[in-house]
């Protein structure tokens, strides 16, 4: 066999195939990004629905509260709302961790914070009037500059909430830029250099506090447990 026979080998793969495969791959990626976007939007829509439900429930609870003069304290149910708020908080946190912060998510977070404040005010009133065994903690944190103590404090509060079902923790992102949250910050004089910060019974505790620390600082926590 001579050289000529071997050098004129026809190459089977034309440029058109490279282009077609590129377009198929591009199509697959565009589809994936589109599907991802649609599914994430559905999740946001689900959060909106939850928030609307909470709004309605809160309004209902507020109305119940207004009627309390005429009604029995046992008519006011608070645990369902608390569970809903917790569920919403977990879902917002999950979306934030997985998809990053978006305008829509920030908006949801603001609405959530407002609902928290409303729930806090209402539940405090109900607790005072009906003598319920509830403990409230306002928790201020930041996500903006890698506050590792805030991450740890978050774990502690989650743990405490599991341990003491009557504990209600309301967490607020310091940098959320929401006037209602800023008012709370002003009232308790919380500085961004002292985060994480906890507020309970108008007392402010700055820096990280372990489960044991908090149990010591708020002794009535233990009293909420059934004997």
């Amino acid at each position: 066999m001579n050289q000529n026979n071997t050098t004129n080998v026809e190459h089977d793969t034309g440029w058109s195939k490279y282009l077609v495969v590129f377009l198929i791959t591009l199509g697959i990626f565009v589809t994936i990004f589109y599907v991802s976007d649609v599914l994430t939007k559905r999740k946001l829509a689900e959060l909106n629905t939850i928030q609307n439900n909470i709004s309605v429930d809160l309004l209902s609870a507020e109305t119940q509260y207004s009627l309390l003069g005429e009604l029995d304290c046992s008519q006011v149910t608070s645990t369902v709302l608390s569970d809903q708020l917790n569920d919403l908080s977990k879902k917002i946190e999950y979306l934030e961790n997985s998809s990053g912060k978006s305008d829509e998510l920030t908006q949801l977070e603001k609405q959530y914070s407002l609902l928290e404040i409303k729930d806090y005010l209402l539940m405090k009133e109900i607790t005072n009037r009906c003598g319920q065994k509830s403990v409230f903690i306002l928790y201020f944190y930041t996500t903006s500059d890698n506050c590792s103590e805030c991450v740890k404090q978050g774990y502690v509060l989650t743990d405490l909430r599991q341990k003491y079902p009557a504990l209600r923790v309301y967490s607020f992102d310091y940098g959320l830029n929401l006037s209602a949250v800023e008012t709370l910050i002003k009232i308790y004089d919380i500085k961004d250099t002292e985060l994480p910060a906890l507020v309970s019974d108008r007392q402010v505790y700055t820096g990280f506090h372990s489960v044991a620390d908090i149990e010591k600082l708020i002794p009535k926590l233990k009293a909420t447990l059934p004997k």
């Binding site: 066999m1 050289q3 026979n5 071997t6 050098t7 004129n8 080998v9 026809e10 190459h11 089977d12 793969t13 195939k17 490279y18 077609v20 495969v21 590129f22 198929i24 791959t25 697959i28 990626f29 994936i32 990004f33 599907v35 991802s36 599914l39 994430t40 999740k43 689900e46 879902k91 999950y94 997985s98 998809s99 990053g100 590792s148 991450v151 740890k152 404090q153 774990y155 502690v156 743990d159 599991q162 372990s210 489960v211």
Partner: protein, 415 residues
């Protein structure tokens, strides 16, 4: 930081999906041509063939290798077997003596000089139309040669490689390799159809003698002479084909360490041969070899390293998180696993996750096609999952070591 990671991830996965789609499109285009010949009809011609068996310390396997060659379904007067003992220090030479008086076998002894020198000695002495190589730890099936020869009816085809199969794997690492070799059957066939094969492996590649007459003998080539000759052939415009239904069984490294050494040598060879022949890359005249195979190989090296680092980064992040949680609240059941009710909300819909699932889907499809081409059955197996899991962890290690050895100009050892 996360965004940079994600961006690079998208680039690499795009290229990986591109390669997978390329193979799949080729398979769908040509699937009717990929038949397994169940009725072995007589060939039109039976060119004479010399099969060279280079041996270095192969006392336990070489007898089986030679016996498999003697059992080939091919006219005995058309086949010559050259057993070249490359200065073995074990009992190989004595084992070979039992074949010294077999009519079509020649037994040769030489000083140790490396596999390529043993092959070149055989090539020098060969007078047949075709030359084959068979590693002394591999065994041909009787129909292999007869099925490979018709590929040479095409004048441009200058070499043909068979499908290499792992027989009777016993250890877990051998099972993983069996799946890998099945995958190679599919990949190599697709590359063969595109004229993009970049290696003519030791287990039973057959060449026209003109390859060596025109291009010269094998070279040391970073201990991957079977790769370098393929590069040289592509440069000379010679076509390499893959005969998927000719099967050769090979012995694979039985331990993870042995596998690591073997693959480090292969990847080192790929990197360094590619550097030596960089003038070919992206040159249209060298076809799919230069436009697809080599670039895809280079990209796979970088992406394997990157994905490994990405995996380590994710793992370290997870562990750090758990450690912070442990520091904060100590060990609870909820620290280790957070029990929560299943909700679709928590199934990731991130593009990174969906692309990863898609990529694994493509890999699994390739494994299934490879199994079909090797065994004739569309049968998923647990070994496929095992292969993906173990190779995801260990393959980046030999790839990284081969890159480091290249950067610091350290040669790799054979075994």
């Amino acid at each position: 930081m996360e965004q940079v990671f994600s961006f690079i991830f998208y680039i690499f996965t795009f290229l990986a999906v591109y390669v997978e789609v390329f193979f799949l499109v080729t398979y769908l285009e040509r699937r009717k041509d990929i038949v397994v010949r169940l009725d072995d009809k007589p060939n039109r011609v039976y060119p004479s063939v010399t099969v060279i068996v280079p041996c270095w310390n192969e006392q336990t396997t070489v007898q089986g290798t030679v016996e498999s060659l003697l059992a080939l379904d091919y006219p005995k007067d058309k086949i010559k077997i050259m057993l070249v003992d490359d200065g073995s220090t074990d009992n190989t030479w004595n084992v070979l003596q039992q074949f010294a008086h077999t009519p079509n076998i020649e037994v040769i002894h030489k000083e140790n000089g490396g596999k390529h020198t043993a092959m070149n000695l055989g090539i020098e002495k060969a007078t047949t139309e075709m030359i084959g190589c068979l590693d002394a730890d591999s065994y041909v099936t009787p129909s292999a040669l007869k099925r490979m020869i018709p590929y040479f009816d095409e004048p441009g085809v200058m070499a043909v490689s068979p499908s290499i199969i792992v027989k009777d794997p016993k250890r877990p690492i051998e099972w993983a390799q069996k799946i890998e070799y099945q995958l190679s059957v599919y990949i190599k066939k697709m590359l063969g159809l595109m004229n993009g094969i970049h290696v003519t492996p030791g287990p039973f590649s057959i060449y026209r003698i003109e390859v060596f007459q025109q291009l010269g003998p094998y070279r040391e080539a970073h201990k991957t002479e079977d790769m370098e000759i393929a590069y040289r052939m592509h440069e000379a415009g010679m076509r390499i084909e893959q005969c998927h239904d000719a099967q050769v069984f090979t012995k694979t490294p039985p331990t993870a360490v042995a596998l690591y050494k073997q693959r480090k040598r292969w990847i080192y060879g790929f990197i360094n041969n590619t550097i030596d022949y960089r003038r070919l890359i992206f040159k249209e005249k060298y076809g799919a070899f230069a436009l697809f195979t080599i670039p895809a190989g280079v990209v796979s090296i970088f992406s394997a390293i990157y994905l490994f680092i990405f995996m380590i980064y994710t793992f370290v992040k997870f562990i750090t998180n758990k450690f912070v949680q442990f520091q904060a609240v100590g060990v609870h059941v909820s620290t280790v696993v957070q029990p929560q009710q299943f909700s679709w909300f928590y199934v990731s819909t991130q593009a990174v996750f969906l692309i990863t699932v898609l990529l694994y889907g493509f890999v699994f499809t390739s494994l299934m096609i490879g199994a079909r081409m090797s065994t004739g059955k569309w049968k998923p197996s647990f070994a496929m999952v095992w292969y993906i899991a173990i190779y995801s962890i260990i393959a980046p290690l030999w790839i990284m070591r081969a890159v480091i050895n290249t950067v610091f100009r350290r040669e790799t050892a054979w075994r």
